[in-house]
Amino acid sequence: MNDEGTETPPPGEGARPGEGTPPPPAPPPPAEAPGAGEQVRIVINDDLERSRLTVGFRLILVIPHLLFLYVWGLLAAVMAVINWFAIVFSGRTVGGDLQTRFLRYFTHVDAYLYLAANPYPPFGGGEDYPIDLIAVEQREQSRLKTFFRAVLAVPALLLGAAFGASGIYGGSGHFRTSFGLLGAAAFLGWFVSVFRARMPRGLRDLSAYALWYSAQAAAYLLLVTERYPNSDPLVPDYGSPPPEHPIRISCDDDLRRSRLTVFFRLLLWLPHLVWLVLWGIVTVFAIVANWFVTLFSGTPADPLHRFISAYLRYETHNFAFIGLVANPFPGFTGREGSYPIDLSIAPPARQNRWKTGFRIILGIPALLLSSALQNAAALVALFGWFTGLFLGHMPQGLRNLGVFALRYSAQLNGYLWLLTDTYPFSGPSQESLAEPTAIPETA
């Protein structure tokens, strides 16, 4: 299909430069109980291999599990109500491990349904499934937090909905409001798996992350734990390091937010919006010119590459600012190293002409995934606005999810704008984040 001897990477798979073979499967980590601060942990032992036959008929094959899950969900919901009264009056949960086993089972079923795992899951949430969930019930919980649990859970459930599964399975079926990350990843993964008998690493990691968050949200709502769901995509262990990408993101944000600039962020962004549009108009012409140059010479023109790179960096700085992923007011030049959330873009390299010619068509799957990710990014901005305004800082999990969305968007735009022919990596594990420093007192 191409004249460069390289293979077109499937959607969601970021190919290592000069490497056509898929990454080796991650070594299975030991299945340990979660730490004290981590009540719900996901364990990934999937080897990415998929059976074409079972993938093709997966929606039908999963039906018995969905029926069983529905009945169990009813029981889990009843148990949650009983526990709500138990905690409110005694401060402790009652009953055995029905809830935690339910969480494990629905994670298996969802992993199977959304192609994050290959084997048919055992009924009842047995051990050793390739995508496994380890949840530990927190017996003693705060009465006050429990009393208001349904209200407190709303933000987590909204974010869960953006991921494509909110985690609510309590008798009324799935609570899904949009074609979220899980759905988008499964849709794309289905085609790749049917043709290549293999799930792209990035899509699998993304699904595992979404499943983990959904399970946390469900655990919180079902009173398994009072620990609020953590949206940090870097917490799960995805196995071996992800492939390198010519466009990388770095984060040197200290999580502090200025309440004044948070409150007026939308208005403060207006001059950047104007400049973004004006510069964007010129950039469109530069991209078109770069397309012709890359198509005929095989390599982007250096000045055009620099110009478009600066715009992509500027756009990323801007979206980090308006999305509350970073605090300071960004500059207007897109200079590298000028903003806490920054892009490192490799110099122009030779690109596959076929990929260049059909770049827009090839970008459609990533655009689909990006639109789903932007829903989550919008919620990050919304929740970040409230936490920034009232607490003066941004929760690390939300910030890191925002960085992930920015990185994917930047890699996608870099791909569409001819800065690289490496497909964006859809897994949430390519971010390069500095250790957060202590949050200083803010005004």
Partner: protein
């Protein structure tokens, strides 16, 4: 060639400053002139001839609150920028934007302070207007509109600071000489573009009124000027109209609330008044007057910010903003006086075009009945707040015009 000795330099400086001041005064006097006869004998009419005691009392108590509220709001803006001048430089740490970008951020944050300071007064004014059925705007809509309309001010200050700080990079001390014409040019551009930026505009639906409007425009020497209706009934319900644009973009904008609530004869007067503004180039003259005021303000800003490194340094922006806001507050009597002169000229032009002093009087009386505008206002309010002649002054002008044209009914 050696530089001139200090005494000569000082003399040249004084000479230049004197010439500049003379030119400034000459230009101000030229702009001050209007076509209203300077010897027009205005009768001293008694408001009780036109309004009942109840109407006068209602308008008086209604306007008293709004005047105090507006004055306090202006003072709050000055205080807020004063506070920001002292503490604002610390917000430099919230920027990664370089010199000019940081200046823009500080400028916008200064306006954010002003917005926050004026917010309670704006809310109080809305509460008062709603209480007296002058406005039907709900609080949420007002807050959203007020917040979003601040966006335009944010953008404008960014542009102004971009120009000023870029010029300061070239002329560290004399930037103000170039900044005033540059800012004036930008303002002219905005004045030209403004009619195209207004939302919810449509032509007059009434063909008869459209024909009358075009006849009035021709009578006042601005034939072909379009009249557009703006749908503002969701923005509070108060009636208004305005003349906007320059040259080819000139428009008269009438709010649909005015067309709904005022009879055709009074709408004609309003249209003639707005055509009068365009016929006498009031948009341009207003800009020129603003430009004149901007010269001393820019000079004072340049002198006052020198200790902070001049406007070249972003940390000087909070102080510059405070000086501008404070000077505009101090200069508001002059600005209001000029505005009142232009409004009087537009009234006179309308009378000359319509020959309907009775309709004009009826219109002005309706302002008091509908919008509770007080027919007269205290001296301090006239000085600090009023940019239109009082209702009684406008009625007196209509009366004076009728006396000059006794055959007119």
């Amino acid at each position: 060639m050696s530089p001139p000795p200090p005494a000569v330099r000082r003399a040249l400086l004084i000479l230049g400053a004197t010439a500049l001041a003379a030119a400034w005064i000459f230009a101000a006097l030229r702009l001050w002139r209007t076509t209203v006869p300077s010897d027009l004998p205005l009768p001293n009419l008694d408001p009780h001839e036109f309004f009942t005691d109840a109407q006068l009392d209602r308008a008086s108590s209604y306007e008293a609150f709004l005047r105090v509220d507006a004055l306090l709001g202006s003072l709050a803006a000055v205080l807020a920028t004063g506070l920001f001048a002292v503490r604002g430089a610390r917000f430099v740490r919230e920027s990664a934007a370089g010199r000019i970008g940081t200046g823009m951020l500080l400028g916008m944050l200064g306006l954010a302070f002003v917005w926050l300071a004026q917010f309670p007064f704006g809310l109080a004014a809305l509460w008062w207007e709603r209480k007296h059925d002058v406005s039907n705007l709900d609080y949420v809509s007002w807050i959203v509109n007020d917040f979003l309309s601040a966006g335009g001010e944010f953008l404008f200050i960014c542009l102004a600071l971009l120009i000023v700080m870029a010029l300061a990079a070239v002329w560290r001390r004399a930037w103000w000489v170039a900044a005033v014409p540059a800012l004036l040019a930008v303002t002219l551009l905005f004045a030209f573009a403004q009619p195209y930026l207004l939302p919810d505009l449509h032509p007059l639906n009434d063909p008869a009124l459209e024909a009358e409007a075009q006849q009035l425009a021709a009578d006042e020497g601005v034939s072909g000027t379009p009249v557009r209706v703006q749908d503002t009934h969701n923005l509070g319900g108060s009636p208004n109209a305005e003349a906007t644009g320059l040259d080819g973009s000139r428009r008269v904008i009438v709010w649909d609330t005015l067309l709904r609530r005022f009879p055709p004869s009074e709408v004609r007067v309003v249209l003639a008044h707005e055509f009068g503004h365009l016929a006498h180039d009031h948009v341009l003259k207003g800009l020129a007057w603003g430009g004149l005021l901007a010269i001393p303000i820019a000079l004072i800003v340049a002198l006052a910010t020198r200790r902070r490194g001049g406007i070249y340094e972003p940390t000087a922006v909070p102080l510059a903003l405070f000086i501008v806001v404070a000077l505009l507050f101090v200069a508001s009597p002059l600005q209001n006086a000029y505005s009142r002169r232009l409004e009087s000229e537009a009234d006179w032009s309308a009378l000359q075009a319509t020959h309907e002093p009775a309709a004009a009087k009826a219109l002005f009386r309706r302002f008091t009945r509908v919008a509770r505008v007080q027919p007269t206002s205290p001296g301090w309010a006239t000085l600090m707040l009023e940019n239109h002649p009082t209702i009684m002054q406008r009625i007196e002008m209509a009366d004076a015009w009728r006396r000059l044209h006794p055959t007119t009914p």
